[in-house]
């Protein structure tokens, strides 16, 4: 092998290092054996480098490829979808090490590595992930630089400097492209099916579901209010409306289960000044969005349902930012349609007989539905009900009977469900609403952080003349849950975030940890709002803010202009550094002479001096021998002989050059 084609040791070291730093962020998504493939391939390559082993022959390679495919197929039960494809790419990437023999192989590997960096963004666009990816780009670029430094016979950090400089030089161009390059929607947002688990709320709720969610310290979404944040007891983030009870499980109505005539929202008259806020949701792989009561969104692609929820037809796979206005005092659905009334009163036949008897009794004693609501809430307050994250297991049949009359220990979903069943049994339309309640105000930037443990379920009852009214039976049992949050409500039980002993949320009492956590959260919010959330709409707004009304031509001009603004100084610096002097007139003329001869088939060779060139040319083109000799002699005199060249002589030289044709 020729020396020029060898991979310098340093480059090999960096290339192998980059492979490992590339696969690390993927580690949760790939089967563990893929990591073993990396170790195996690296070990083999190092043995090759040390001269112990040789590169695998083709049958071995073929076997490895087939094994890789088979492994992916066995691990994922499929080759389609995001995770299997990425795992396949990562496996192939590792095996490429076994073909890393020459410099050109290293190019293939390293250019592929840039692509592998990008795959990380298909899963997460977290601030930390982005930092890891930047680091990876630095490492890959370092390997590329090292590839161009032959003779570096020990693994060292030196090429990193140039790689860093190159990336910094590219940064302004990146900013220009980020802000100005047209965001062509469909081409870039082809939905790729991910097997990632759905997180947060689910569309079904049985006792125990919300309490399970409450064990997680993950962030559900972040809210930024224009103006003051409303009091925490008003922050009921509606997500799902569950109208149907089947076998002890509450569920939301499917889109197709709602008759076409009932799908459109009966738009109410908004009352009072709206609250304006924007929400950035973490990906949920679900379709519904969260908002305060009577929410309308102005963001494109968001729809409004008949039960006053907001949702998006597309699954939320990335951080998603949307704008909402809410009128909390609006009367929702003053007139109830017959279908709606039937749905919101439906109870399974025969279940929970004791509860229904009690409800019927209360209804009979009450003068109005509103009084019945009061009486049931009083029941919760008066009787020894306990709010707990560790409720006892309930029997399969007649769960609510067991809860209301025997155990009396439950979480919000127990109370909401029991309340709605009693209301329906009493003939009052009612339903369960699932979502989040409260949130933590971040003093750093004023956003409200809503965590998974803020998950909550409450109910809505329909009262004549008042429409749907929110009733939270949990507030009757444990008012501190609503006023202060889950942690305070569970303070005695000590069961806040029992599964994550290391979550910084558990250490909110320690000032410094809390401050760091809130700072980082504010940073995440800015990142999501300004970088991840910078979509075509925002881009348009930004450009409009700068340049007034906007035309395609103006857009192109701005794009090119800013590009030039970045590139021209770079080009200028490069030109200055080259220090090319303008060619003298003499040399220009001589090069003209060379071009003339070249067009006749005698090009000057690299480094060839005038006399040698002339001899060769004369032999090739004998008819011009005299002229060639003349030009060469003149050039020799003007360029190398003693005495400064005269303008007159240059003129004659020019004439001599022109005679070559």
């Amino acid at each position: 092998m020729k020396a020029q084609q060898q991979i310098p040791r340093n480059a090999l070291g960096w290339a192998i290092l980059s492979m490992f730093t590339l696969v690390l962020p993927h580690i949760e998504r790939i089967p563990p054996w893929v990591l073993a493939v990396y170790l195996f391939a690296a070990f083999w390559r190092i043995m090759v480098y040390r001269g112990r082993w040789s590169f695998p022959r083709w049958p071995v390679k073929l076997g490895l490829i087939i094994a890789g495919f088979a492994g992916i197929l066995l691990s994922f039960r499929s080759l389609v979808g995001l995770e299997p494809t990425v795992a396949l790419l990562l496996t192939a990437f590792a095996l490429k090490l076994l073909e890393l023999a020459e410099r050109k192989d290293a190019y293939v590997l390293l250019f592929l590595a840039y692509f592998v960096v990008l795959t990380e963004f298909l899963f997460s666009q977290d601030l930390l992930i982005v930092l890891v990816c930047v680091l990876n780009v630095v490492i890959i670029t370092t390997a590329l630089v090292a590839l161009h430094r032959p003779g570096d016979d020990r693994f060292n950090l030196r090429p990193m400097r140039q790689a860093g400089v190159m990336i910094l030089q590219a940064a302004p161009l990146m900013l220009v492209l980020f802000f100005l390059f047209p965001r062509i929607g469909p081409l870039w947002t082809v939905p790729i099916k991910s097997q990632q688990a759905k997180t947060g709320m689910s569309e079904f709720m049985s006792p125990g579901d919300v309490s399970r969610l409450s064990r997680s310290g993950e962030v559900a979404f972040r809210v930024n209010f224009e103006g003051d944040v409303p009091p925490r007891s008003e922050l009921y983030w509606r997500g799902l409306v569950m109208s149907r009870l089947r076998q002890g499980t509450w569920s939301a109505l499917n889109f197709y289960e709602v008759p076409a005539s009932q799908r459109r929202q009966n738009e109410p008259e908004p009352l009072g000044e709206p609250l304006r806020y924007s929400i950035i949701m973490e990906p949920t792989q679900q379709r519904w969005l969260y908002g305060l009561r009577y929410a309308r969104s102005t963001s494109s692609g968001i729809m409004h349902s008949a039960d006053f929820r907001i949702f998006r037809p597309l699954v939320i796979e990335d951080d998603y930012l949307y704008q909402v206005r809410s009128w909390p005092d609006t009367v929702l659905e003053p007139e109830l349609s017959a279908w709606r009334r039937r749905i919101e009163l439906e109870l399974p036949d025969g279940a929970n007989p004791r509860t229904r008897r009690l409800a019927a009794q209360i209804a009979a004693e009450s003068a109005s539905p509103a009084e019945a609501v009061e009486r049931v809430l009083n029941l919760f307050t008066r009787e020894p009900f306990v709010y707990t994250l560790q409720p006892p297991l309930l029997p399969e049949r007649d769960r609510m009977d067991a809860f209301l009359f025997d155990t009396r220990r439950g979480f919000c979903e127990h109370y909401a469900a029991a309340f709605v069943i009693m209301m329906r049994a009493a003939g009052i339309p009612a339903r369960v609403v699932a979502g989040y309640q409260g949130g933590e105000v971040n003093p750093v930037n004023g956003t409200v952080i809503v965590h998974q443990f803020d998950a909550h379920a409450w109910s809505e009852v329909w009262l004549e003349g008042r429409g749907w009214v929110r009733v939270d039976p949990t507030a009757a049992v444990a008012p501190e849950r609503i006023e202060l949050g889950l942690e305070e409500a569970l303070a005695e039980e000590g069961s806040f975030l029992p599964d994550s002993p290391l979550s910084p949320l558990r250490y909110r009492k320690i000032d410094i940890i809390n401050k760091i956590r809130l700072r980082y959260d504010a940073l995440t919010y800015s990142w999501q709002a300004w970088v991840v959330g910078f979509d075509a709409d925002k881009q348009f707004d930004l450009l409009k803010g700068f340049f007034g009304d906007f035309s395609a031509r103006k857009f192109a001009a701005v794009l090119l202009g800013s590009w030039a603004l970045v590139l021209v100084p770079v080009a200028w610096v490069l030109l200055l550094r080259r220090k090319t002097h303008a060619l003298s007139r003499l040399d220009r003329l001589y090069l003209n002479f060379c071009r003339r001869l070249e067009s006749m088939g005698v090009a000057r060779k690299a480094g060839e001096a005038p006399r040698d060139y002339a001899l060769r040319a004369q032999r090739k083109i004998p008819r011009l021998a005299e002229q060639i000799a003349d030009v060469t002699k003149r050039y020799d005199q003007l360029a190398y002989a003693e005495g400064a060249s005269q303008d007159g002589e240059l003129g004659e030289f020019a004439r001599a050059v022109r005679s070559i044709r």
Partner: protein, 309 residues
């Protein structure tokens, strides 16, 4: 007689014993005209010694020959003081180095200690023996021959000492035709060496030297020289580039070459002609470069254009 003719005659005179090697003969003469020391490197039996003897004859210089062996000591070259019993004093017996032309055969077979004794003389034109500095005759040339370094039993000359030689020549196998002629002549000739006649006298030698001083090197040419030198320092193929002394050696040789071809100014061809001999032993290829030094020099010549880019 005109200088050009004298030189041509000298070349053809040497050519009678060293057949088909005109370029090397001209370079060797150029080296001596430029007052430089010459290193001839090749396998045994390629005519190294023949060339050096012929040069001495043609230039009419007093010469001495020292065969370098591994047990040669500095005193064997420089001379020693011997106690004279008659007048009870030390008298200096000059060594073979006190001559105009020293033929140092197989210089890399002796120890570094002896090598450096010779090299001081080459650099300074004088020798210091027992604290007393003695000047060497004028002119003083060293023509050294050496076997390729990878041969066994050699002490390779370090770079600093190689640098003292203006040129290094390789003779190479003769052209088949020349070799045939040589075989044929062998039959007719006796084995005894017949000295060549002197073609160039001391006066002419000084004349050539004067003429070299008059040769003009234009800005354009100096530019080209500087770009050549700079390339060897910046390009990754070279571990070590040309030193300023190497650059001066190039220019000096090119000037001499121009005189030998009756030109009043240096042209790029002059530089290119002497480049392999002058630069070849001064450049060290980097570990990554696989070619030999000839390939390295031609790479240098190809990559630096005569006309400023």
């Amino acid at each position: 007689m005109h200088l050009q003719d004298v030189i041509d005659e000298a070349v053809s005179e040497i050519g009678t014993v060293l057949l088909g090697k005109e370029p090397q003969i001209r370079l060797a003469l150029c080296c001596l005209f430029a007052r430089g020391h010459l290193l001839i490197e090749d396998l045994p039996g390629m005519g190294k010694t023949t060339l050096s003897h012929a040069l001495a004859d043609v230039l009419g210089l007093s010469w001495k020959r020292v065969q370098f062996t591994s047990d040669l000591l500095p005193a064997d070259i420089l001379g020693v003081s011997v106690y004279n019993r008659n007048d009870a004093s030390f008298s200096f017996h000059p060594g073979p180095i006190f001559t105009q032309l020293l033929l140092a055969d197989e210089i890399n077979r002796t120890t570094p200690r002896t090598q450096s004794a010779l090299l001081e003389a080459m650099a300074e034109g004088q020798v210091t023996v027992e604290g007393e500095t003695r000047p060497l005759p004028e002119p003083f040339f060293v023509i050294a021959t050496q076997n390729p370094v990878h041969q066994s039993g050699t002490y390779p000359l370090p770079e600093s000492q190689l640098d003292r030689f203006l040129m290094r020549l390789e003779l190479g196998y003769p052209h088949p035709q020349a070799e045939r002629e040589m075989f044929q002549r062998q039959r007719l000739n006796s084995t005894e060496r017949v000295p060549l006649r002197q073609v160039i006298n001391g006066e002419q030698l000084a004349g050539i030297r004067d003429a070299v001083g008059q040769v003009h090197a234009s800005d354009n040419l100096l530019d080209y020289l500087q770009r050549l030198v700079a390339y060897t320092r910046n390009s990754p193929e070279f571990e070590v580039g040309l030193s300023p002394r190497g650059g001066l050696a190039l220019l000096d040789s090119a000037r001499t070459w121009a005189v030998m071809h009756s030109r009043g100014h240096v042209v790029p061809e002059d530089l290119q002609m002497v480049l392999p001999a002058v630069a070849g032993h001064r450049l060290i290829p980097s570990g990554d470069y696989s070619g030999d030094s000839a390939a390295l020099v031609s790479l240098l010549q190809r990559n630096v254009d005569v006309i400023r880019p």
